[in-house]
């Protein structure tokens, strides 16, 4: 049994899945921790990534075009959500839910149905071994992580980080908070959509239900990562996100391996999240539950 667990943990597939999902978790964390914006658009823009992949790939075009278009698509959804909040003055949570609802219809229209298979079509991961796929995923994610780290280490990134915790400072320093929120959500959703596009190409199909439950599992991953590495800098923050996602995937695959009753899954995830939040409070002795950025959840 332990032998089997060891094999599972080292399996390149789990690492690939964890890394691809960590991009979405990072996008979610940027809006949640840096902008203090609980952006529920996540589940919609993730699916949008897969839908864009299906539109491009089934037309026989290069999967890399699909990946770059997914960045654009994600940015647009982020901008839309942020504009709802900044200019139409809609509450943050509600603005995300509205975009999510609209995206549901948009995704169905764009994909022409709920499900689209890439079988025998060229995806970014066609004709690769498991290790080959993992290498490619590592390259993509390293690229994305370094771009995000670069952005966050500029003065703009600094203002972005300040925006969630203390908007007044930003405004009194003569910066436009709306520009920061809109661009911040554009970046975070671009990442999420990119992750969705990679994810569906890795799976070999795109389905409108791919995003189901992503908010809760991203939050779980983020909190696990934050408990393990108490991040205080941009770099450690990104590490926390990656490690959190990998650990979450590992736990999922153990649950599967031991054949838990499927109808219990959601209950288990909920209980785990409660336990984690209590552990977080205990481990931080009541102060500093979140060490980097603002604590929305």
């Amino acid at each position: 049994m332990l032998d089997a667990l060891g094999v599972l943990f080292l399996s390149p597939n789990i690492l690939s899945q964890g890394l691809i999902l960590s991009l979405a978790v990072l996008g979610f964390s940027i809006s949640l921790r840096l902008l203090a914006y609980a952006d529920l658009t996540l589940e919609g823009s993730f699916v949008l990534g897969g839908v864009i992949a299906s539109m491009i790939i089934t037309k026989g075009m290069s999967p890399y075009i699909a990946l770059s278009l997914s960045l654009v698509g994600g940015m647009l959804t982020g901008i839309f959500t942020a504009c709802l909040h900044c200019y139409a003055k809609i509450n943050k949570l509600l603005s995300g839910i509205i975009t999510l609802t609209i995206l549901y219809s948009v995704n169905l229209r764009l994909q022409n149905g709920s499900n689209s298979s890439f079988y025998n079509l060229t995806t970014a991961f066609s004709d690769l071994t498991d290790i080959g796929i993992l290498t490619k995923v590592v390259v993509f994610s390293l690229l994305a992580f370094s771009i995000i780290a670069t952005i966050l280490y500029t003065r703009y990134g600094l203002l972005l980080r300040a925006c969630g915790e203390n908007v007044k400072i930003i405004q009194r320093s003569g910066h436009n908070k709306n520009v920061l929120i809109v661009s911040g959500l554009a970046i975070s959703n671009a990442l999420i959509c990119f992750s969705g596009s990679l994810f569906s190409q890795y799976f070999g199909f795109s389905d409108v239900s791919l995003g189901n439950g992503l908010i809760i599992s991203s939050l779980t991953a983020l909190i696990i990562g934050e408990i393990i590495i108490r991040p205080r800098t941009v770099i450690t923050f990104i590490c926390a996100v990656v490690i959190g996602s990998l650990v979450t995937q590992f736990i999922y695959s153990i649950c599967l391996y031991v054949n838990l009753n499927p109808s219990d899954y959601k209950g288990i995830v909920g209980v785990v999240l409660i336990v984690l939040i209590i552990v977080r409070r205990y481990a931080s002795k009541g102060k500093d539950t979140v060490t980097f950025g603002s604590e929305v959840f």
């Binding site: 025998n120 799976f203 108490r230 800098t233 599967l256």
Partner: protein, 318 residues
């Protein structure tokens, strides 16, 4: 300065370890020990759903006749990521065949392996969802069964039972692949009989009641579409339909007990048996799975609800 907090890691790993141990103990008790199985078959069911469940149970009962087959049963609880992980584990465990129930489970299975035979079960449209190149020659390592309803016969039933009907109401969930696949055929068939389809979209079962309400005075009869969402909320549709005296036709066999006047259908157990049959063919054959034609659907019979027939003064069609 940014060091890993040792205490938290210890706490978390303790927690993890406890989870792993509990789960392992629970899991080990569940797995039955089979003496020297010749074949290991992994079954990946996409989601718990009455139709898939009954296919699964009858498949399992059928396979119980063969002591040399060991089953690994998994359910993805409707999550595509879980589907993929289950299939990954099957590949690692070097199973002899994967049985995938439900379209997403099957799609992820054929993406995961091109070597291990994949037998899909209870798929409405294997060709449309790219699981099979064609019904006769699925190709590659994949074959299976389809449980496509006899839509042609169900539409023609409208004409034979209610010859005066002109407008046919139907609740459709465009987000479901199998529903869309069925609708393609239904639209063609309805046009053949000069029936006008009034399609109302639903996206979850709470909308069924008001969607049915909206059909009032616009339609003469309601046809049941092959939507899973509709399936789980059929009762609310029958309730509204009988309030306004709109006859309902079609659906699967169980819909007739609930309030559908009549339908052409088959028992889902037959699909399970067929899936078992094709699985045995695949396991015993030396040829590639893709050379075995897709089986099904099983032959359909006419099922009728006598109470409903009486209510609308209908007689059994000849």
């Amino acid at each position: 300065m940014h060091r890993v907090n040792v205490k938290n890691v210890a706490l978390l790993s303790l927690l993890l370890l406890l989870t792993v141990i509990t789960l392992t103990v629970v899991g080990c008790n569940k797995q039955k020990k089979v003496t020297s199985p010749e074949f290991v078959v992994g079954i990946n069911q996409y989601v718990q759903h009455p139709i898939l469940d009954s296919v699964f149970v009858s498949l399992k009962n059928e396979l119980a006749k063969y002591p040399n087959i060991k089953l690994i049963e998994k359910n993805a609880a409707g999550n595509a990521l879980t589907c993929k992980q289950i299939n990954d584990q099957f590949v690692q465990q070097k199973v002899n065949a994967i049985v995938a129930l439900g379209t997403p489970a099957a799609q992820s299975a054929i993406e995961t392996t091109t070597v291990i035979p994949v037998v899909f079960g209870a798929i409405t449209d294997p060709v449309g969802s790219k699981l099979a190149d064609s019904i006769e020659l699925p190709g590659g390592n994949k074959t299976g069964t389809t449980n496509r309803w006899p839509f042609e016969k169900q539409v023609s039933l409208i004409k034979t039972m209610l010859p005066n009907a002109k407008n046919v109401g139907i609740l459709v969930n465009p987000a479901e692949a199998n529903c869309e696949a069925g609708m393609k055929i239904i639209r063609i068939e309805a046009a053949k009989y000069n029936l006008k389809l009034v399609e109302v979209n639903i996206s979850n079962s709470s909308e069924i009641s008001s969607a049915t309400e909206s059909l009032r005075k616009r339609v003469d009869v309601i046809l049941i579409s092959p939507s899973n969402v509709l399936f789980s909320g059929l009762d609310s549709m029958f309730k509204v339909a009988s309030k306004y005296n709109i006859p309902v036709l079609g659906g699967d066999v169980s819909s007739v007990d609930k309030g559908s006047i009549a339908t052409y259908g088959f028992n889902n157990n037959d699909v399970g048996k067929m899936t078992a049959e094709i699985l045995m063919k695949v396991l015993n054959s030396k040829e590639l799975a893709g050379t075995i034609p897709v089986m099904g659907p099983p032959p359909s019979k006419l099922y009728m609800n006598s109470d409903m027939m009486k209510k609308y003064n209908l007689t059994k069609p000849l």
